[in-house]
C-alpha cells in the first residue's frame, strides 16, 4: 500500500514543499526523531542515487585501464618471449660469429715456425720473414714470403708459412689461395695435413663455416697429426 509519510519525505527531500507545507513538515521533523531519521536516510539515499552513475563510470574506467595494461603486458611478454625464442633458435642454429675463448685460442695460436735452410739468394729474405713471423709481425712476414715465393714457387714449406702468416694477419683470401694450392699439390702427407688444418681455420674465420666444418670432419676421421685438434675445434664450435 502507498505510504503517505514516505511520499511526504520524498517531496521534502526533492524540494517540492514550500510555504506553510514546508514549515509544518519541518516542525514535524523536529518533534519526531523517527521521522528525522527517515528524512536523513532519504537525503543520503538520494545523494547516493545522484552519485552512482559517476562512481560507476570511475569503476568502469579503472577496470578498462587495468584491462589495457594487462593487454599491454601480455603483448610485451609475448614480444619478449618471441625475441627470446628467436635468440635461442639463432644461438642453436648459427655458430657464434664471436669465437668463444677456446676457439679464439686455437685460431690465434701463434706457433713459431722453424728456420729453413735454402741454397741461393732467397735465404736472407726467408730468414727475415721467419724472424718477422716469430716476432708477431705477420703482415710483414707474409709480404716477404710472397716475395720469396715469386722466385721459388715450389717451396711448399715456405708457401705454408706464407699462408699461416696471411691467416694470422687476417688476410684470409690470400691464405686460402696458398692453402688450396698446397692441398692439391703437396705429396708430403704431413704438409698436406697441416695445409688442410690451416685451411679449415682460415675458412672458419672468413665465415665459410660449412666448408670448414667438412674439412675438420675429414681431418678428424683421417686420424692424422691434426685429427685431435680438429676434433676439439669441432666440439668447440658445435
Amino acid at each position: 500500500m502507498d505510504d503517505p509519510i514516505y511520499n511526504r519525505i520524498q517531496d521534502y527531500v526533492s524540494g517540492k514543499l514550500s510555504g506553510d507545507d514546508l514549515r509544518r513538515f519541518e516542525q514535524q521533523i523536529d518533534g519526531d526523531p523517527e521521522l528525522a531519521e527517515r528524512v536523513a536516510f532519504e537525503k543520503n539515499f538520494q545523494e547516493v542515487v545522484r552519485m552512482e552513475p559517476g562512481i560507476e563510470a570511475i569503476r568502469q574506467g579503472i577496470q578498462a585501464a587495468k584491462g589495457q595494461q594487462t593487454d599491454h603486458r601480455k603483448w610485451l611478454w609475448g614480444l619478449l618471449a618471441l625475441v627470446a625464442l628467436g635468440g635461442l633458435l639463432y644461438f642453436l642454429r648459427t655458430p657464434s660469429v664471436q669465437p668463444q675463448e677456446k676457439i679464439r685460442a686455437m685460431l690465434e695460436q701463434q706457433s713459431t715456425i722453424g728456420s729453413l735452410s735454402r741454397d741461393g739468394a732467397g735465404q736472407g729474405l726467408l730468414d727475415s720473414a721467419i724472424q718477422q713471423y716469430n716476432g708477431g709481425q705477420f703482415a710483414m712476414a707474409a709480404q716477404q714470403l710472397e716475395r720469396y715465393l715469386q722466385s721459388t714457387p715450389n717451396d711448399y714449406t715456405a708457401r705454408l708459412y706464407a699462408a699461416q702468416a696471411h691467416r694470422q694477419a687476417k688476410q684470409f683470401s690470400a691464405a686460402e689461395s696458398h692453402l688450396r694450392q698446397l692441398v692439391a699439390a703437396a705429396d708430403d702427407h704431413l704438409l698436406g695435413e697441416q695445409a688442410r688444418w690451416e685451411l679449415a681455420l682460415s675458412l672458419w674465420q672468413s665465415g665459410q663455416q660449412e666448408e670448414s666444418r667438412e674439412l675438420l670432419q675429414l681431418l678428424t676421421k683421417g686420424g692424422g697429426d691434426r685429427a685431435e685438434e680438429a676434433g676439439s675445434f669441432l666440439e668447440a664450435i658445435q
Binding site: D2, Y6, E37, A40, V49, I58, I62, A65
Partner: protein, 186 residues
C-alpha cells in the same frame, strides 16, 4: 598548474572514461607503490586508488571546489589519508610514511568526503543483506528507476510500489544502524 590537471577535473566531473583511464595509467603505479611501501598489498593499493578517485570526484562536483595543488598532490593526499584510515582500522596507522609536497589540500573536505564514502560503502554492504525482493527494489532505485517503472517491472498494482520502496528503505536504514546521520551534500 599544468593544463592537464584541469582536464582531469573536468573529465571526472563529466565521467569521461578516457580521462579516468588516463588518470589510472598515469598515477595508479605511484599510489600502489605508496601503499605497498606502507604495509599494504597490491589489492589494498587498488582499493585506495579507487576510493581516492571517488572522493576527488565528489569534491570537484562542489561549486566551491578549487584545485589549489597539482592533481597528483591532491590524489596522493587523499590516497594517503584513505590508507591511513584503513591502517587505523587495522591498528597499524603508525606505519604510514607521508611524503607531503607542501602544497595546500583541504583536509576538512577530504575528511568529510571520506566519511561519506564510508557511509556509502556501508549502504552497499547492507543492501546485500536485504531479502531478495527488497534488494532488487533498492538496486533499481539506485539506478534511478521511478516507482512507476518499478511497478511495471514487478507488475505491482497501482500505488503498491511506493509503499514497497518505503518499507525496503526502512529495512535498509535499520540495517545501517537506524540513525544514519545526515552527511554533507553536493
Amino acid at each position: 598548474m599544468p593544463p592537464k590537471d584541469w582536464k582531469y577535473i573536468e573529465g571526472l566531473r563529466n565521467s569521461d572514461s578516457q580521462v579516468i583511464q588516463e588518470i589510472y595509467s598515469r598515477y595508479s603505479r605511484k599510489i600502489l607503490d605508496h601503499v605497498k611501501t606502507n604495509s599494504g598489498s597490491a589489492s589494498d593499493g587498488d582499493d585506495v586508488f579507487q576510493e581516492a578517485l571517488i572522493i576527488i570526484y565528489r569534491m570537484c562536483l562542489k561549486e566551491d571546489f578549487a584545485l589549489t595543488a597539482s592533481f597528483y598532490t591532491l590524489l596522493y593526499g587523499v590516497a594517503s589519508r584513505v590508507w591511513l584510515k584503513q591502517l587505523a582500522k587495522r591498528k597499524r596507522a603508525g606505519e604510514v610514511m607521508f611524503d607531503e609536497s607542501g602544497e595546500y589540500i583541504d583536509e576538512d573536505r577530504i575528511a568529510e568526503e571520506m566519511e561519506w564514502y564510508a557511509n556509502y560503502q556501508l549502504m552497499l554492504q547492507k543492501i546485500d543483506q536485504l531479502p531478495d525482493n527488497c534488494r532488487k527494489i533498492i538496486q533499481l532505485c539506485l539506478q534511478g528507476k521511478k516507482p512507476r517503472e518499478i511497478t511495471k517491472l514487478f507488475q505491482y498494482k497501482a500505488g503498491v510500489a511506493s509503499g514497497r520502496i518505503a518499507k525496503c528503505k526502512d529495512k535498509l536504514r535499520k540495517l545501517m544502524g537506524g540513525g544514519t546521520k545526515e552527511l554533507s551534500h553536493g
